[in-house]
C-alpha cells in the first residue's frame, strides 16, 4: 500500500485564525488536486507561533460545531489533515495542540508535552503542558503525532513506537538560528539528524513539516522532510519558501526493513520498565 502525503510548508498570519483557515482550505485543495491522501500542516498553523497574550483570543475547542473546525472537518472527508492550533480546555487552560482529522471526524488531538521556556522560547509562560502521549489508528496504519520540542526529547517518540506507531508525524514552527559557515542553520541541521535517527532507530516513517515566514525578527526555515524505515531521505522541502512537498510512501517498506532489522521485535520493554522503576525510585539524579 502506498501513502501519498503532502507536506504543507506554509506561512501564517499572526493571530488571525480566519485568514489562516482560508489558507488551509486553499492548500488542502492543492493537495487534493495532486492526489494526496494526507496533508500535514506545521505547528500552530491556524494561529502563528509567537502568540503570547493572543493565546486566549485565538484559542479553539476542537469540536464538530466549532466554526473554524467545521470547514476543515468537511474537507477531511476528501483527505486526511494534520494541523496545529491553540486549544482551550473545558477548564480554560490553553495548550499548543495538533489534530488529526479524517472522514469528517477529529480522530486524535495531541497537546504539546514539552514547552520550551528558555533562550528565545517562552511557551511555558502562556501554555499548559499536555500530559499524554498516545498513538492512534489511521486508515494508513497506526501513527503518532508530536509537536516540535516533543521530539527534541527522545522519550515521546519511543513511547509512540511502543504504543504501535509506524508513522511519526512531527510538526514544528521552529525559529531558525545558529548561522555559521554551513549552508543550513544549526537547528535545521539538528532536526534533520534526529529525524533520520528516529526513522532508523524505530524502523519507521518520519514525516516532518516546519513553517516558513517571519514573525518580527524570527525566521522560520521550512525544510520539511520524510525519512523511510531505512533512514533514507525520500522527500526534502526547500528552505525559507512556501512549498507543498509531495512524497509517496511505500508502506510495505516496514515489512522489508523489520525483516532485515528486527529492532522492534527485540526491544526489551519489560527491562526498560524495570530499570526505569529502579532509577526513578532510588537513584534520583
Amino acid at each position: 500500500m502506498n501513502l501519498k502525503v503532502a507536506l504543507a510548508q506554509i506561512n501564517t498570519k499572526l493571530g488571525v485564525v480566519e485568514a489562516n483557515l482560508e489558507r488551509h482550505l486553499d492548500w488542502i485543495d492543492q493537495a487534493c488536486n495532486q492526489g494526496a491522501d494526507l496533508v500535514i500542516f506545521p505547528e500552530l498553523s491556524l494561529t502563528g507561533y509567537v502568540v503570547q497574550d493572543l493565546a486566549p483570543t485565538v484559542a479553539l475547542r476542537p469540536l464538530p460545531e466549532d466554526p473554524i473546525f467545521q470547514p476543515l472537518l468537511q474537507a477531511s472527508r476528501k483527505i486526511d489533515i494534520v494541523l496545529g492550533f491553540v486549544e482551550e480546555d473545558v477548564r480554560n487552560r490553553f495548550y499548543i495542540s495538533a489534530a488529526y482529522l479524517s472522514g469528517g471526524k477529529i480522530a486524535h488531538v495531541h497537546r504539546k508535552v514539552y514547552l520550551p521556556t528558555y533562550g528565545l522560547f517562552d511557551e511555558g509562560r502562556f501554555f499548559a503542558w499536555g500530559d499524554s502521549i498516545r498513538a492512534f489508528d489511521t486508515r494508513f496504519g497506526r501513527a503518532g503525532l508530536l509537536i516540535c520540542e516533543d521530539f527534541w526529547h527522545a522519550s515521546p517518540p519511543y513511547l509512540l513506537w511502543l504504543d504501535g506507531a509506524d508513522l511519526f508525524f512531527f510538526i514544528s514552527a521552529s525559529p531558525g538560528r545558529g548561522l555559521n559557515a554551513a549552508p543550513v542553520l544549526e537547528n535545521t541541521r539538528w532536526v534533520e539528524h534526529i529525524n533520520r535517527a528516529y526513522a532508523s532507530l524505530f524502523t519507521s516513517f518520519v514525516l516532518y513539516t516546519n513553517r516558513v515566514g517571519y514573525e518580527d525578527g524570527l525566521n522560520f526555515a521550512g525544510g520539511a522532510n520524510v525519512f523511510d524505515p531505512d533512514g533514507n531521505l525520500i522527500a526534502q522541502g526547500p528552505y525559507h519558501q512556501e512549498s507543498l512537498i509531495m512524497a509517496t510512501l511505500d508502506l510495505h517498506q516496514l515489512h522489508r526493513t523489520r525483516t532485515r532489522l528486527p529492532l522492534l521485535r527485540d526491544e526489551r520493554t519489560a527491562l526498560v520498565q524495570r530499570e526505569l522503576g529502579r532509577i526513578l525510585a532510588a537513584d534520583r539524579r
Partner: protein, 273 residues
C-alpha cells in the same frame, strides 16, 4: 577559538526575505535609509535594494560641514552600484544654531546632535517617501553601546543587528559592496580624524572574537582570560556591555496596574499581520 565565518548565501537570503516580509506586511513597499559612506549602511542599502527593488529604496546622504568628502563619494558609489533613489540633505544649517547656543559643547554632545538630526531627516523622508526606516547598526556596536540613542539607533527594522562587524564584512563582500568601503577604517565621521577603533581602543577583529565568546558561547570573563584575552580588555568590554544595556531596551514604565505595557501586555509587533 571561535570561528566567525558565516555562510553569506544563507544570510543574504534570510535578511532580504526579512526586509521584504517586515516592510510589506504592514502595507508598505518602500524603505528609507541613511547612507554614511561606511560599510554598515552600504550593506543595508544593498540588502534593501535586493529585497524591495532599487526604485523602492531611498538612500539619504546627510553630510555636515566637516564630513569627509570621501564619505560622500563612497555613499555615491553605493547609490550607483545599487541604482537606488537618492537625496542629499546637508545638516549643517540645522545643527549649527544649537552648537552656537552652547559654545563650550564637546565633541560627544555635538556628535549626538548630528546623529539625532539625521534621524529627524530620515523619519521625515520616511513620511515623504512612504517608506520604513531601515537600520544599519551591527551587533558589535549595539553590544558596546557605540551608538547614539534615538539617533543612528532609531529605525523601524534592522537587518544587520545580529552580525558582528567581522561577519558583516563577509556579507558586504559577497553582495558586492565596493572594496574601498570594506577596506577603509570604520568611522562615525562625527569629527575630523575620528575612527571607531581609535575611539574604542581596540579593533573589531579583537573585540568580535571576545564578544562571540562572552555572548554567544556564554564564556565567563575568567574563561575568556584563560582563552588568551588580556584581563583588562575583558573587564573593560564586560563593563561596557553592561553599562550600555539602557540603549538596548525600551524605557522602563513604572508598574502600577495589573497589566502594564512591557511587562504583561505582550504582543509581537507583527500582531495581526
Amino acid at each position: 577559538m571561535t570561528d566567525l565565518t558565516i555562510n553569506t548565501d544563507l544570510a543574504r537570503g534570510i535578511l532580504t526575505d526579512f526586509i521584504r516580509s517586515e516592510i510589506t506586511r504592514t502595507g508598505f513597499t518602500r524603505a528609507v535609509l541613511g547612507l554614511s559612506g561606511g560599510i554598515d549602511s552600504a550593506l543595508s542599502c544593498f540588502l534593501a535594494a535586493e529585497a524591495l527593488g532599487a526604485n523602492n529604496v531611498l538612500a539619504v546622504r546627510m553630510p555636515y560641514r566637516t564630513s569627509s568628502s570621501e564619505s560622500l563619494d563612497h555613499a555615491q558609489l553605493v547609490i550607483e552600484a545599487t541604482g537606488v533613489q537618492s537625496l542629499t540633505v546637508e545638516i549643517t544649517p540645522m545643527v549649527e544654531p544649537l552648537f552656537d547656543a552652547f559654545p563650550d559643547m564637546n565633541n560627544v554632545r555635538r556628535g549626538n546632535i548630528m546623529a539625532r538630526q539625521r534621524m529627524i531627516v530620515l523619519y521625515d523622508q520616511s513620511a515623504a517617501f512612504d517608506g520604513l526606516v531601515v537600520g544599519t547598526g551591527n551587533k558589535t556596536e549595539i553590544l558596546l553601546g557605540y551608538t547614539t540613542l534615538f539617533g543612528d539607533s532609531a529605525c523601524a527594522i534592522n537587518p544587520v543587528g545580529d552580525l558582528y562587524k567581522t561577519q558583516l564584512r563577509q556579507l558586504a563582500a559577497a553582495l558586492g559592496v565596493p572594496k574601498a568601503i570594506i577596506e577603509k577604517p570604520p568611522s562615525a565621521d562625527l569629527w575630523l580624524g575620528q575612527t571607531d577603533e581609535g575611539e574604542l581602543g581596540y579593533t573589531y577583529a579583537e573585540v568580535d572574537k571576545l564578544l562571540a565568546l562572552l555572548v554567544d558561547q556564554r564564556f565567563t570573563p575568567q574563561e575568556c582570560v584563560e582563552a588568551g584575552f588580556a584581563e583588562a580588555f575583558v573587564q573593560a568590554v564586560v563593563e561596557r556591555v553592561r553599562r550600555n544595556q539602557f540603549k538596548r531596551v525600551m524605557p522602563p514604565i513604572a508598574k502600577l496596574s495589573n497589566r502594564t505595557i512591557g511587562y504583561d501586555f505582550l504582543y509581537l509587533r507583527d500582531w495581526g499581520t
